[in-house]
Amino acid sequence: MTGNEVTAVSIADLQSLLRRREVSSREVINALRERIEAVDGDLGAYLSLDIESAIKEAEQANVDLPLGGIPIAIKDIINVIGQPCTCASKILTGYRAPYDATVVQKLRAAGAIPFGKTNLDEFAMGSSTENSAVKSTRNPWDLSRVPGGSSGGSAAAVAADEAFGALGSDTGGSIRQPAALCGVVGLKPTYGRVSRFGLVAFASSLDQVGPLTKTVRDAALIMNAIAGHDPQDSTSLNEPAPDYVASLGNDLRGVRLGVPKEYMIEGIDPQVRAAIDAAVKQFNSLGAEILEVSLPSTEYAVAVYYIIATAEASANLARFDGVRYGYRAENPKDVLDLYGRTREEGFGPEVKRRIILGTYVLSSGYYDAYYLRAQKVRELIRRDFDRVFEKIDALISPTSPVAAFKLGERVADPLQMYLADIFTIAANLAGICGISVPCGFAELDGHRLPIGLQLLGKPLDEARILQIAHAYEQSTDWHKARPPVASNSPKA
Protein backbone atom coordinates (compact mmCIF):
# COMPACT_ATOMS: atom_id res chain seq x y z
CA MET A 1 0.00 0.00 0.00
CA THR A 2 1.40 3.43 -0.94
CA GLY A 3 1.31 6.38 1.42
CA ASN A 4 -1.46 8.08 -0.58
CA GLU A 5 -3.52 4.90 -0.52
CA VAL A 6 -3.15 4.69 3.26
CA THR A 7 -4.20 8.30 3.88
CA ALA A 8 -7.27 7.87 1.65
CA VAL A 9 -8.96 5.23 3.82
CA SER A 10 -11.68 5.78 6.41
CA ILE A 11 -11.08 5.41 10.15
CA ALA A 12 -13.03 2.14 10.14
CA ASP A 13 -10.83 0.73 7.35
CA LEU A 14 -7.65 2.01 8.96
CA GLN A 15 -8.70 0.26 12.17
CA SER A 16 -8.87 -3.08 10.26
CA LEU A 17 -5.54 -2.45 8.51
CA LEU A 18 -3.86 -1.71 11.83
CA ARG A 19 -5.38 -4.73 13.54
CA ARG A 20 -4.36 -7.06 10.70
CA ARG A 21 -0.86 -5.56 11.00
CA GLU A 22 -0.96 -4.58 7.32
CA VAL A 23 0.26 -1.16 8.33
CA SER A 24 1.76 0.11 11.58
CA SER A 25 0.66 3.23 13.41
CA ARG A 26 4.12 4.66 12.85
CA GLU A 27 3.79 4.14 9.09
CA VAL A 28 0.41 5.84 9.23
CA ILE A 29 1.91 8.93 10.88
CA ASN A 30 4.68 9.00 8.28
CA ALA A 31 2.19 8.66 5.43
CA LEU A 32 0.18 11.56 6.85
CA ARG A 33 3.30 13.67 7.23
CA GLU A 34 4.20 13.08 3.57
CA ARG A 35 0.67 13.81 2.49
CA ILE A 36 0.67 17.08 4.45
CA GLU A 37 4.04 18.06 2.99
CA ALA A 38 2.66 17.43 -0.51
CA VAL A 39 -0.64 19.31 -0.28
CA ASP A 40 -0.81 21.57 2.76
CA GLY A 41 1.27 24.28 1.14
CA ASP A 42 -1.71 24.81 -1.17
CA LEU A 43 -4.46 24.17 1.37
CA GLY A 44 -3.22 25.66 4.63
CA ALA A 45 -5.34 23.36 6.79
CA TYR A 46 -2.84 22.97 9.64
CA LEU A 47 -1.45 25.56 12.04
CA SER A 48 0.96 23.27 13.86
CA LEU A 49 2.22 19.70 13.89
CA ASP A 50 4.28 17.77 16.39
CA ILE A 51 5.41 14.73 14.42
CA GLU A 52 7.90 13.67 17.09
CA SER A 53 5.27 13.26 19.84
CA ALA A 54 2.91 11.56 17.40
CA ILE A 55 5.56 9.01 16.40
CA LYS A 56 6.32 8.34 20.07
CA GLU A 57 2.66 7.73 20.79
CA ALA A 58 2.31 5.62 17.63
CA GLU A 59 5.09 3.33 18.80
CA GLN A 60 3.16 2.57 21.98
CA ALA A 61 -0.25 2.37 20.31
CA ASN A 62 -2.60 -0.40 21.37
CA VAL A 63 -4.49 -1.16 18.15
CA ASP A 64 -7.08 -3.25 19.97
CA LEU A 65 -8.55 -0.12 21.53
CA PRO A 66 -11.54 1.41 19.66
CA LEU A 67 -9.37 4.09 17.98
CA GLY A 68 -6.01 2.47 18.71
CA GLY A 69 -3.14 4.07 16.77
CA ILE A 70 -5.41 6.35 14.76
CA PRO A 71 -4.31 9.99 14.39
CA ILE A 72 -7.06 12.59 14.83
CA ALA A 73 -6.57 16.27 13.94
CA ILE A 74 -7.70 18.82 16.51
CA LYS A 75 -9.14 22.27 15.84
CA ASP A 76 -6.73 24.78 17.33
CA ILE A 77 -9.28 25.97 19.90
CA ILE A 78 -9.14 22.72 21.89
CA ASN A 79 -6.31 22.26 24.40
CA VAL A 80 -3.81 19.46 23.79
CA ILE A 81 -1.17 19.41 26.51
CA GLY A 82 2.18 20.86 25.47
CA GLN A 83 0.87 21.90 22.03
CA PRO A 84 0.09 25.45 20.90
CA CYS A 85 -3.55 26.50 21.22
CA THR A 86 -3.71 29.77 19.32
CA CYS A 87 -7.39 29.96 18.35
CA ALA A 88 -5.81 31.42 15.16
CA SER A 89 -5.40 34.66 17.10
CA LYS A 90 -2.38 36.86 17.59
CA ILE A 91 -3.45 37.26 21.21
CA LEU A 92 -2.51 33.62 21.92
CA THR A 93 0.79 33.66 20.06
CA GLY A 94 3.24 31.43 21.86
CA TYR A 95 0.64 29.95 24.22
CA ARG A 96 1.10 26.27 25.00
CA ALA A 97 -1.75 24.30 26.52
CA PRO A 98 -0.97 23.33 30.12
CA TYR A 99 -3.57 20.54 30.10
CA ASP A 100 -5.64 18.25 27.86
CA ALA A 101 -9.27 19.06 27.11
CA THR A 102 -11.62 16.28 28.27
CA VAL A 103 -12.34 15.33 24.63
CA VAL A 104 -8.60 14.92 24.07
CA GLN A 105 -8.24 12.80 27.22
CA LYS A 106 -11.13 10.67 26.00
CA LEU A 107 -9.60 10.29 22.52
CA ARG A 108 -6.35 9.20 24.12
CA ALA A 109 -8.19 6.73 26.36
CA ALA A 110 -9.70 5.22 23.19
CA GLY A 111 -6.18 4.85 21.77
CA ALA A 112 -6.26 7.76 19.32
CA ILE A 113 -3.29 10.04 18.72
CA PRO A 114 -4.06 13.78 18.73
CA PHE A 115 -2.25 14.85 15.59
CA GLY A 116 -1.83 18.45 14.51
CA LYS A 117 -3.82 21.59 15.19
CA THR A 118 -6.08 22.83 12.41
CA ASN A 119 -6.86 26.34 11.22
CA LEU A 120 -10.05 28.22 12.07
CA ASP A 121 -11.61 31.64 12.04
CA GLU A 122 -10.12 33.54 14.96
CA PHE A 123 -11.82 32.24 18.14
CA ALA A 124 -14.21 30.31 15.86
CA MET A 125 -15.86 33.56 14.77
CA GLY A 126 -16.61 33.23 11.10
CA SER A 127 -17.94 31.06 8.31
CA SER A 128 -15.01 30.94 5.91
CA THR A 129 -11.77 30.54 7.93
CA GLU A 130 -10.69 33.87 6.40
CA ASN A 131 -10.78 35.43 9.87
CA SER A 132 -7.75 33.38 10.90
CA ALA A 133 -4.97 35.77 11.92
CA VAL A 134 -2.45 33.26 10.54
CA LYS A 135 -3.64 32.34 7.05
CA SER A 136 -6.65 31.42 4.95
CA THR A 137 -7.40 27.77 4.34
CA ARG A 138 -8.44 26.85 0.79
CA ASN A 139 -11.15 24.50 -0.37
CA PRO A 140 -9.64 21.25 -1.75
CA TRP A 141 -12.29 21.20 -4.50
CA ASP A 142 -11.33 24.65 -5.81
CA LEU A 143 -8.37 26.50 -4.35
CA SER A 144 -9.92 29.89 -5.15
CA ARG A 145 -12.78 29.15 -2.74
CA VAL A 146 -13.22 29.02 1.03
CA PRO A 147 -13.53 25.75 2.95
CA GLY A 148 -16.31 27.22 5.10
CA GLY A 149 -15.81 27.86 8.77
CA SER A 150 -15.06 28.17 11.43
CA SER A 151 -13.69 24.58 11.48
CA GLY A 152 -12.38 25.08 7.92
CA GLY A 153 -8.96 23.59 8.63
CA SER A 154 -10.48 20.40 10.05
CA ALA A 155 -12.90 20.04 7.12
CA ALA A 156 -10.26 20.71 4.44
CA ALA A 157 -7.77 18.34 6.11
CA VAL A 158 -10.29 15.48 6.15
CA ALA A 159 -11.48 16.17 2.59
CA ALA A 160 -7.92 16.21 1.21
CA ASP A 161 -6.79 13.07 3.10
CA GLU A 162 -4.54 15.11 5.36
CA ALA A 163 -6.47 13.70 8.33
CA PHE A 164 -8.51 10.56 8.89
CA GLY A 165 -10.86 12.46 11.12
CA ALA A 166 -10.84 15.69 13.07
CA LEU A 167 -12.48 17.45 15.97
CA GLY A 168 -14.20 20.76 15.37
CA SER A 169 -16.44 23.00 17.41
CA ASP A 170 -19.87 24.24 16.39
CA THR A 171 -21.42 27.40 17.86
CA GLY A 172 -23.68 28.33 14.94
CA GLY A 173 -22.76 25.79 12.26
CA SER A 174 -18.97 25.74 12.50
CA ILE A 175 -18.74 21.95 12.08
CA ARG A 176 -21.65 21.33 9.71
CA GLN A 177 -21.15 24.21 7.25
CA PRO A 178 -17.44 23.55 6.48
CA ALA A 179 -18.22 19.80 6.32
CA ALA A 180 -20.84 20.61 3.67
CA LEU A 181 -18.56 22.94 1.69
CA CYS A 182 -15.68 20.42 1.71
CA GLY A 183 -17.77 17.29 1.06
CA VAL A 184 -17.25 15.49 4.38
CA VAL A 185 -19.43 14.44 7.31
CA GLY A 186 -19.80 16.76 10.31
CA LEU A 187 -21.79 16.19 13.49
CA LYS A 188 -22.84 18.76 16.07
CA PRO A 189 -23.94 16.90 19.19
CA THR A 190 -26.75 17.97 21.50
CA TYR A 191 -25.68 20.76 23.85
CA GLY A 192 -24.16 18.99 26.84
CA ARG A 193 -23.59 15.63 25.13
CA VAL A 194 -19.85 16.27 24.80
CA SER A 195 -17.71 18.04 27.40
CA ARG A 196 -16.58 21.59 26.73
CA PHE A 197 -13.80 21.45 29.34
CA GLY A 198 -10.65 22.56 27.54
CA LEU A 199 -12.50 24.03 24.57
CA VAL A 200 -11.69 27.75 24.56
CA ALA A 201 -15.09 29.36 25.18
CA PHE A 202 -16.69 31.52 22.49
CA ALA A 203 -20.42 31.37 23.37
CA SER A 204 -20.83 29.03 26.31
CA SER A 205 -24.55 28.28 25.87
CA LEU A 206 -24.06 27.32 22.20
CA ASP A 207 -20.59 25.73 21.82
CA GLN A 208 -20.25 21.97 21.26
CA VAL A 209 -17.31 19.82 20.16
CA GLY A 210 -17.94 17.22 17.46
CA PRO A 211 -16.32 15.11 14.73
CA LEU A 212 -15.57 15.79 11.04
CA THR A 213 -14.97 12.56 9.13
CA LYS A 214 -15.03 10.91 5.71
CA THR A 215 -17.99 8.67 6.56
CA VAL A 216 -20.95 8.56 8.93
CA ARG A 217 -19.59 5.39 10.53
CA ASP A 218 -16.37 7.25 11.37
CA ALA A 219 -18.37 10.04 13.02
CA ALA A 220 -20.11 7.38 15.14
CA LEU A 221 -16.71 5.89 16.08
CA ILE A 222 -15.43 9.26 17.31
CA MET A 223 -18.70 9.97 19.14
CA ASN A 224 -18.33 6.67 20.97
CA ALA A 225 -15.02 7.96 22.29
CA ILE A 226 -15.94 11.56 23.20
CA ALA A 227 -19.62 11.54 24.29
CA GLY A 228 -20.61 11.38 27.93
CA HIS A 229 -20.74 13.20 31.22
CA ASP A 230 -17.80 15.19 32.52
CA PRO A 231 -17.75 16.38 36.13
CA GLN A 232 -15.42 19.20 34.98
CA ASP A 233 -18.21 20.70 32.82
CA SER A 234 -21.34 21.46 34.83
CA THR A 235 -23.35 21.88 31.60
CA SER A 236 -22.48 18.40 30.38
CA LEU A 237 -25.44 16.04 30.65
CA ASN A 238 -25.37 13.20 33.12
CA GLU A 239 -26.97 10.73 30.71
CA PRO A 240 -25.44 7.47 29.49
CA ALA A 241 -24.13 7.58 25.90
CA PRO A 242 -25.32 4.75 23.64
CA ASP A 243 -23.12 2.78 21.22
CA TYR A 244 -23.43 4.96 18.14
CA VAL A 245 -21.82 2.42 15.82
CA ALA A 246 -24.14 -0.40 16.88
CA SER A 247 -27.17 1.72 15.98
CA LEU A 248 -26.12 2.14 12.32
CA GLY A 249 -28.28 0.26 9.83
CA ASN A 250 -29.72 0.66 6.37
CA ASP A 251 -33.42 0.36 6.94
CA LEU A 252 -35.44 3.55 7.02
CA ARG A 253 -38.91 1.98 7.06
CA GLY A 254 -41.13 3.76 9.55
CA VAL A 255 -38.78 6.76 9.85
CA ARG A 256 -40.57 10.08 9.52
CA LEU A 257 -38.63 13.03 8.11
CA GLY A 258 -39.81 16.63 8.09
CA VAL A 259 -38.99 19.24 5.48
CA PRO A 260 -39.38 22.70 7.08
CA LYS A 261 -41.15 24.93 4.59
CA GLU A 262 -39.40 28.03 6.03
CA TYR A 263 -36.02 26.58 5.00
CA MET A 264 -36.90 26.49 1.30
CA ILE A 265 -36.18 30.19 0.89
CA GLU A 266 -35.47 32.36 -2.16
CA GLY A 267 -31.75 32.64 -1.46
CA ILE A 268 -31.01 28.94 -1.95
CA ASP A 269 -28.83 28.24 -4.96
CA PRO A 270 -30.87 26.30 -7.56
CA GLN A 271 -28.22 23.56 -7.71
CA VAL A 272 -28.36 23.16 -3.93
CA ARG A 273 -32.14 23.00 -4.02
CA ALA A 274 -32.08 20.37 -6.77
CA ALA A 275 -29.64 18.22 -4.76
CA ILE A 276 -31.83 18.43 -1.65
CA ASP A 277 -34.98 17.61 -3.66
CA ALA A 278 -33.20 14.54 -5.08
CA ALA A 279 -32.07 13.49 -1.59
CA VAL A 280 -35.63 13.79 -0.27
CA LYS A 281 -36.77 11.45 -3.08
CA GLN A 282 -33.94 9.09 -2.18
CA PHE A 283 -35.03 9.01 1.47
CA ASN A 284 -38.54 8.28 0.31
CA SER A 285 -37.34 5.37 -1.83
CA LEU A 286 -35.45 4.00 1.20
CA GLY A 287 -38.76 3.75 3.04
CA ALA A 288 -38.85 7.02 4.97
CA GLU A 289 -42.06 8.98 5.16
CA ILE A 290 -41.66 12.66 4.20
CA LEU A 291 -43.81 15.36 5.80
CA GLU A 292 -43.84 19.11 5.30
CA VAL A 293 -43.52 20.87 8.66
CA SER A 294 -43.39 24.44 9.86
CA LEU A 295 -40.83 26.21 12.09
CA PRO A 296 -42.42 29.68 12.17
CA SER A 297 -39.68 31.43 14.18
CA THR A 298 -36.93 30.46 11.70
CA GLU A 299 -36.53 33.92 10.20
CA TYR A 300 -35.42 35.32 13.58
CA ALA A 301 -32.67 32.79 14.25
CA VAL A 302 -29.75 34.71 12.73
CA ALA A 303 -30.65 37.92 14.57
CA VAL A 304 -31.11 36.07 17.88
CA TYR A 305 -27.81 34.29 17.39
CA TYR A 306 -25.76 37.41 16.71
CA ILE A 307 -27.08 39.00 19.89
CA ILE A 308 -26.66 36.00 22.20
CA ALA A 309 -23.37 34.71 20.76
CA THR A 310 -21.73 38.15 20.82
CA ALA A 311 -23.01 38.87 24.34
CA GLU A 312 -21.48 35.63 25.61
CA ALA A 313 -18.28 36.23 23.63
CA SER A 314 -17.83 39.71 25.08
CA ALA A 315 -17.79 38.17 28.56
CA ASN A 316 -15.71 35.11 27.67
CA LEU A 317 -13.04 37.09 25.82
CA ALA A 318 -12.57 39.52 28.70
CA ARG A 319 -9.97 37.06 30.00
CA PHE A 320 -7.58 37.98 27.18
CA ASP A 321 -6.04 41.03 28.80
CA GLY A 322 -2.31 40.44 28.46
CA VAL A 323 -1.84 39.56 32.12
CA ARG A 324 -1.75 35.78 32.58
CA TYR A 325 -1.04 34.36 29.15
CA GLY A 326 -0.62 35.18 25.50
CA TYR A 327 0.28 38.44 23.83
CA ARG A 328 1.03 41.61 25.80
CA ALA A 329 1.48 45.09 24.30
CA GLU A 330 4.93 46.54 24.80
CA ASN A 331 5.76 49.22 27.37
CA PRO A 332 2.27 49.89 28.75
CA LYS A 333 2.13 53.14 30.68
CA ASP A 334 -0.52 51.85 33.06
CA VAL A 335 -2.85 48.91 33.41
CA LEU A 336 -5.66 50.39 31.28
CA ASP A 337 -3.17 51.06 28.52
CA LEU A 338 -2.01 47.44 28.88
CA TYR A 339 -5.57 46.13 28.39
CA GLY A 340 -6.57 48.55 25.64
CA ARG A 341 -3.50 48.11 23.48
CA THR A 342 -3.08 44.37 24.10
CA ARG A 343 -6.65 43.84 22.87
CA GLU A 344 -6.27 46.35 20.02
CA GLU A 345 -3.11 44.67 18.75
CA GLY A 346 -4.05 41.09 19.67
CA PHE A 347 -7.59 40.72 18.27
CA GLY A 348 -8.56 40.80 14.60
CA PRO A 349 -11.45 42.90 13.22
CA GLU A 350 -14.24 40.29 13.48
CA VAL A 351 -13.42 39.51 17.11
CA LYS A 352 -13.37 43.23 17.95
CA ARG A 353 -16.69 43.77 16.18
CA ARG A 354 -18.32 40.94 18.10
CA ILE A 355 -16.96 42.02 21.48
CA ILE A 356 -18.22 45.56 20.84
CA LEU A 357 -21.65 44.35 19.72
CA GLY A 358 -21.87 41.95 22.66
CA THR A 359 -20.86 44.65 25.13
CA TYR A 360 -23.50 46.94 23.66
CA VAL A 361 -26.41 44.47 23.80
CA LEU A 362 -25.61 43.74 27.45
CA SER A 363 -25.16 47.38 28.44
CA SER A 364 -27.53 49.23 30.71
CA GLY A 365 -30.47 50.62 28.75
CA TYR A 366 -30.12 48.12 25.88
CA TYR A 367 -30.12 44.80 27.73
CA ASP A 368 -33.93 44.41 27.71
CA ALA A 369 -34.36 45.50 24.10
CA TYR A 370 -31.68 43.23 22.72
CA TYR A 371 -30.34 40.48 24.97
CA LEU A 372 -33.44 39.68 27.02
CA ARG A 373 -35.71 39.84 23.98
CA ALA A 374 -33.32 37.59 22.04
CA GLN A 375 -33.39 35.02 24.86
CA LYS A 376 -37.19 35.01 24.69
CA VAL A 377 -37.26 34.57 20.93
CA ARG A 378 -34.70 31.80 21.43
CA GLU A 379 -37.27 30.04 23.62
CA LEU A 380 -39.83 30.35 20.79
CA ILE A 381 -37.31 28.79 18.38
CA ARG A 382 -36.77 25.92 20.81
CA ARG A 383 -40.54 25.38 21.13
CA ASP A 384 -40.85 25.21 17.31
CA PHE A 385 -38.51 22.21 17.32
CA ASP A 386 -40.25 20.59 20.31
CA ARG A 387 -43.53 20.82 18.46
CA VAL A 388 -42.35 19.31 15.15
CA PHE A 389 -40.40 16.53 16.88
CA GLU A 390 -43.70 15.21 18.24
CA LYS A 391 -44.53 14.22 14.67
CA ILE A 392 -41.19 13.42 13.06
CA ASP A 393 -37.82 11.77 13.81
CA ALA A 394 -35.59 14.28 12.05
CA LEU A 395 -35.64 17.39 9.87
CA ILE A 396 -34.04 17.63 6.42
CA SER A 397 -32.63 20.83 4.93
CA PRO A 398 -29.63 22.10 3.04
CA THR A 399 -26.67 22.65 5.40
CA SER A 400 -25.72 25.85 3.58
CA PRO A 401 -27.83 27.84 1.08
CA VAL A 402 -24.86 27.94 -1.31
CA ALA A 403 -21.81 25.86 -2.21
CA ALA A 404 -18.32 27.17 -1.35
CA PHE A 405 -17.94 30.87 -2.14
CA LYS A 406 -14.81 32.66 -3.37
CA LEU A 407 -12.12 33.84 -0.99
CA GLY A 408 -12.65 37.55 -0.31
CA GLU A 409 -16.23 37.55 -1.60
CA ARG A 410 -17.93 38.19 1.75
CA VAL A 411 -15.26 39.56 4.10
CA ALA A 412 -16.23 43.21 3.69
CA ASP A 413 -19.88 42.55 4.59
CA PRO A 414 -20.24 40.82 7.98
CA LEU A 415 -24.03 40.52 7.63
CA GLN A 416 -23.70 38.57 4.37
CA MET A 417 -21.18 36.29 6.08
CA TYR A 418 -23.59 35.77 9.00
CA LEU A 419 -26.35 34.72 6.61
CA ALA A 420 -24.16 31.78 5.47
CA ASP A 421 -25.26 30.09 8.73
CA ILE A 422 -28.97 30.55 8.21
CA PHE A 423 -29.83 26.82 8.30
CA THR A 424 -27.40 25.73 10.99
CA ILE A 425 -27.83 28.40 13.67
CA ALA A 426 -31.25 27.38 15.01
CA ALA A 427 -29.93 23.97 16.13
CA ASN A 428 -27.42 25.67 18.45
CA LEU A 429 -30.06 28.02 19.82
CA ALA A 430 -32.36 25.07 20.53
CA GLY A 431 -29.52 22.82 21.74
CA ILE A 432 -30.51 19.97 19.42
CA CYS A 433 -28.15 17.75 17.41
CA GLY A 434 -27.41 17.98 13.69
CA ILE A 435 -25.31 16.32 11.03
CA SER A 436 -24.20 17.27 7.53
CA VAL A 437 -23.60 14.58 4.90
CA PRO A 438 -22.53 14.97 1.26
CA CYS A 439 -25.55 14.90 -1.10
CA GLY A 440 -24.29 16.05 -4.49
CA PHE A 441 -22.29 18.63 -6.38
CA ALA A 442 -22.79 22.06 -7.84
CA GLU A 443 -20.91 22.98 -11.03
CA LEU A 444 -19.36 26.43 -10.83
CA ASP A 445 -16.67 27.86 -13.14
CA GLY A 446 -15.75 24.36 -14.26
CA HIS A 447 -15.31 23.07 -10.70
CA ARG A 448 -17.39 20.50 -8.88
CA LEU A 449 -18.28 21.83 -5.45
CA PRO A 450 -19.81 19.62 -2.75
CA ILE A 451 -23.31 20.16 -1.40
CA GLY A 452 -24.29 19.11 2.11
CA LEU A 453 -27.57 17.79 3.45
CA GLN A 454 -28.42 18.60 7.05
CA LEU A 455 -30.40 16.32 9.34
CA LEU A 456 -31.51 17.79 12.66
CA GLY A 457 -32.53 15.49 15.50
CA LYS A 458 -34.14 15.63 18.93
CA PRO A 459 -32.00 16.35 21.99
CA LEU A 460 -29.73 13.35 22.70
CA ASP A 461 -30.93 11.58 19.54
CA GLU A 462 -27.51 11.48 17.84
CA ALA A 463 -27.87 7.73 17.31
CA ARG A 464 -30.99 8.31 15.23
CA ILE A 465 -29.57 11.01 12.94
CA LEU A 466 -26.39 8.96 12.49
CA GLN A 467 -28.52 5.97 11.52
CA ILE A 468 -30.57 8.00 9.02
CA ALA A 469 -27.47 9.68 7.59
CA HIS A 470 -25.69 6.34 7.30
CA ALA A 471 -28.58 4.70 5.43
CA TYR A 472 -28.63 7.61 2.98
CA GLU A 473 -24.85 7.66 2.56
CA GLN A 474 -24.70 3.92 1.88
CA SER A 475 -27.30 4.30 -0.88
CA THR A 476 -25.25 6.98 -2.69
CA ASP A 477 -21.71 7.47 -3.96
CA TRP A 478 -21.25 11.12 -2.95
CA HIS A 479 -18.93 10.33 -0.05
CA LYS A 480 -16.61 8.35 -2.34
CA ALA A 481 -15.80 11.33 -4.58
CA ARG A 482 -12.35 12.78 -3.97
CA PRO A 483 -11.32 16.40 -4.57
CA PRO A 484 -8.75 17.12 -7.32
CA VAL A 485 -6.10 17.85 -4.68
CA ALA A 486 -6.56 14.33 -3.31
CA SER A 487 -5.58 12.66 -6.59
CA ASN A 488 -2.06 11.31 -6.96
CA SER A 489 -0.87 14.22 -9.06
CA PRO A 490 1.84 16.13 -7.19
CA LYS A 491 0.04 19.50 -7.26
CA ALA A 492 -3.58 20.41 -7.86
Binding site: G94, P98, Y99, Y191, G192, S205, P231, S234, T235, L237, S297, Y300, V302, A303, V304, Y306, I307, S314, D321, G322, V323, R324, G326, Y327, R328, P332, K333, V335, L338, Y339, G340, R343, E344, F347, P349, K352, R353, I355, I356, L357, T359, S363, Y370, R373, A374, Q375, K376, V377, R378, E379, L380, R382, D413, P414, L415, Y418, L429, A430, G431, P459
Partner: protein, 96 residues
Protein backbone atom coordinates in the same frame (compact mmCIF):
# COMPACT_ATOMS: atom_id res chain seq x y z
CA UNK B 1 -19.86 59.86 16.42
CA UNK B 2 -22.89 57.67 15.98
CA UNK B 3 -24.63 56.18 12.96
CA UNK B 4 -28.17 54.97 12.34
CA UNK B 5 -28.44 53.05 15.64
CA UNK B 6 -27.95 54.13 19.25
CA UNK B 7 -24.63 52.30 19.28
CA UNK B 8 -21.59 54.55 19.74
CA UNK B 9 -18.75 52.27 18.71
CA UNK B 10 -15.95 54.43 20.11
CA UNK B 11 -17.64 54.62 23.52
CA UNK B 12 -18.52 50.91 23.75
CA UNK B 13 -15.00 49.94 22.62
CA UNK B 14 -13.67 51.88 25.61
CA UNK B 15 -16.02 49.95 27.91
CA UNK B 16 -14.72 46.72 26.35
CA UNK B 17 -11.09 47.88 26.84
CA UNK B 18 -10.25 47.77 23.14
CA UNK B 19 -8.41 50.77 21.70
CA UNK B 20 -9.59 51.59 18.18
CA UNK B 21 -8.22 53.94 15.56
CA UNK B 22 -10.67 56.53 14.23
CA UNK B 23 -10.78 54.73 10.88
CA UNK B 24 -11.53 51.40 12.50
CA UNK B 25 -14.30 52.94 14.61
CA UNK B 26 -15.86 54.42 11.47
CA UNK B 27 -15.86 51.10 9.59
CA UNK B 28 -17.21 49.15 12.58
CA UNK B 29 -19.92 51.79 13.10
CA UNK B 30 -21.24 51.27 9.58
CA UNK B 31 -20.98 47.46 9.74
CA UNK B 32 -22.59 47.14 13.17
CA UNK B 33 -25.33 49.64 12.29
CA UNK B 34 -26.22 47.22 9.49
CA UNK B 35 -26.26 44.25 11.86
CA UNK B 36 -28.43 46.13 14.38
CA UNK B 37 -30.79 47.21 11.61
CA UNK B 38 -31.15 43.55 10.67
CA UNK B 39 -31.77 42.68 14.34
CA UNK B 40 -34.69 45.13 14.45
CA UNK B 41 -36.87 42.35 13.08
CA UNK B 42 -36.94 40.90 16.62
CA UNK B 43 -39.18 43.81 17.62
CA UNK B 44 -41.98 42.29 15.53
CA UNK B 45 -42.08 39.15 17.65
CA UNK B 46 -44.74 38.88 20.34
CA UNK B 47 -42.87 37.62 23.39
CA UNK B 48 -45.59 38.34 25.94
CA UNK B 49 -45.45 35.73 28.69
CA UNK B 50 -42.44 33.95 27.21
CA UNK B 51 -39.70 33.03 29.69
CA UNK B 52 -36.14 33.73 28.56
CA UNK B 53 -34.31 30.53 27.58
CA UNK B 54 -31.47 29.56 29.88
CA UNK B 55 -30.30 25.97 29.47
CA UNK B 56 -32.03 24.30 26.53
CA UNK B 57 -32.59 21.08 28.45
CA UNK B 58 -34.17 20.86 31.90
CA UNK B 59 -30.93 20.86 33.92
CA UNK B 60 -30.92 22.66 37.27
CA UNK B 61 -28.64 22.91 40.28
CA UNK B 62 -25.70 20.72 39.37
CA UNK B 63 -23.92 19.62 42.54
CA UNK B 64 -20.73 17.77 43.15
CA UNK B 65 -18.84 16.64 46.21
CA UNK B 66 -16.39 19.25 47.48
CA UNK B 67 -13.33 17.03 47.42
CA UNK B 68 -9.77 18.25 46.93
CA UNK B 69 -7.83 16.98 43.92
CA UNK B 70 -4.66 17.64 41.98
CA UNK B 71 -4.65 20.74 39.84
CA UNK B 72 -2.17 23.22 38.47
CA UNK B 73 0.97 24.01 40.37
CA UNK B 74 1.84 27.71 40.50
CA UNK B 75 4.67 26.99 38.10
CA UNK B 76 2.32 25.49 35.52
CA UNK B 77 -0.21 28.29 35.92
CA UNK B 78 2.60 30.77 35.25
CA UNK B 79 4.01 28.83 32.31
CA UNK B 80 2.38 31.15 29.73
CA UNK B 81 2.78 34.43 31.62
CA UNK B 82 4.12 37.33 29.50
CA UNK B 83 5.96 38.54 32.63
CA UNK B 84 6.43 36.83 35.97
CA UNK B 85 8.64 36.90 39.02
CA UNK B 86 8.63 35.22 42.45
CA UNK B 87 5.63 33.07 41.56
CA UNK B 88 3.55 36.13 40.58
CA UNK B 89 2.23 37.71 37.40
CA UNK B 90 3.90 41.07 36.84
CA UNK B 91 1.73 43.98 35.64
CA UNK B 92 2.22 47.76 35.53
CA UNK B 93 1.75 49.53 38.84
CA UNK B 94 -1.97 49.88 39.63
CA UNK B 95 -1.87 51.88 42.90
CA UNK B 96 0.24 55.00 43.24
Amino acid sequence: MTGTSDLDVAYVARLARINLTADEAKIFQRQLDNVLKYAEKLRQVDVTGVEAAAHVLPVFNVFRADTPGDWFTAERALSNAPRQANGLFIVPKVVE
